[in-house]
Amino acid sequence: MKYSGFRVIKEALTGHRGWGPAWRSPDPSSEYDYVIIGGGGHGLATAYYLAKEFKQSKIAVLEKGWIGGGNVGRNTTIIRSNYLLDGNEPFYEFSLKLWEGLEKELNYNAMVSQRGILNLIHSDAQRDAFVRRGNAMLLNGADADLLTTEQIKKRYPFLNTDNARFPIKGGLAQHRGGTVRHDAVAWGYARAADSCGVDIIQNCEVIGFKIANGTCLGVETTKGFIKAKTVGACVAGSSSRLMQLAGMRLPIESHVLQAFVSEGLKPLLPGVITFGAGHFYCSQSDKGGLVFGGDIDGYNSYAQRGNLPVVEDVCEGGMAIFPMLGRVRLLRMWGGIMDMSMDGSPIIDKTDISGLYFNGGWCYGGFKATPASGWVYAHLLATKEPHKTARAFRFDRFSKGLMIDEKGMGNQPNLH
């Protein structure tokens, strides 16, 4: 069924009896050409582009819980392409371009809102670094705009620009950045993939791989064995757990990242702002809640909930630039498990096991990557060659010294 304004009116007049489920719930077949493990944003996007762009068929997405229950439904919804390094920036800009056409492509309202993102600058050295980053963005076809304190004051009069320790000295804006309704991304891709014939199988956990003579022949699941020519792992925070079943150790640690939503407020914050001297970033949802977050908790965790020191740290960062936050009450908070890689950048690559592919290591920034991650992973699975924007996301970059370390932090995942 095609969604449209006309359809909404028609359904309103006929008692909303015509809306069917947005996707089927089939039983798994015994065999597929492609099995994608993980029904998060990336897995669903991969299945969709495999069918739509790469004209493949017999595709299944296996999800251990329900789709949208992982990080795709837990993140703070920010999209942007403000990276510095060559290995990353073309990929994220490709992703932002896909976001710009996504709702038409999927015939689904994902509430893509290019309200802009502003990274605040607090020192001269930081301005130099952000000018360099802005230039790298421009060279890669993205937009970047260096703002003065005066320009920032005009747009955000409530920011404390004169904080004694961290005065605001300007900012790097990407006006095409913004936010997207996260679960709608999962649902939109699921519906579009389903209509291309992809089987989305929920409550189906992969519990083992069948590997013979170095070739992956299929997966053991809680719904039985499923034979597959090509298997694509795509399970974000569970990456190490899953790949361990295939005998692999990954350059990844799982850490918990928390997010916070305040009570609903009147329209206040027009875009996304990030504090440059500590860890705090914030946007306002269409329902009025301030959506904010900061640093990961910093220790290995699979708990999907964090601890209080980070709550305090995030709120302190918020108060430093945004003093009026002090009167706002926190409504909800939660955590998600991040697949923190050793250099802070993702991996999209084949493995040493023939027919088994891997997509992961997204750290806290994989939501913005969803469309491009799906596209380039589908490219890799269908053509066996990496997409031109994803050539650097290889496993062997760690042994070859070709890390993509945006922050220059080294092999310390809790610092990326």
Partner: protein, 93 residues
Amino acid sequence: MIINHPLLGPRDSSEFVYLGDANLINRPNWQEDSALEHFVDYGYLRDNIAGVHRELWFHEYGDRSWLVVTRDTVSHEITEVRLASDVAIKEGR
């Protein structure tokens, strides 16, 4: 989280800095022929266990000792805390 420091008693985890898997105590021998391969493993690959995990914490805002903390990464429950120096000696380092 409260870390029960073997010398100082219960301390808040925010006094500590986290390094990672306690296997980092077992630094490979740089003189071995296969040292390069071992260092790639040591530097970049992790078990990343969901469950009981031995890990290194540094008491930065305290006595600056390194601890080996045994903690469940699913429940965050801490079951054992030892001085890393004791662990290293016991493991023949």
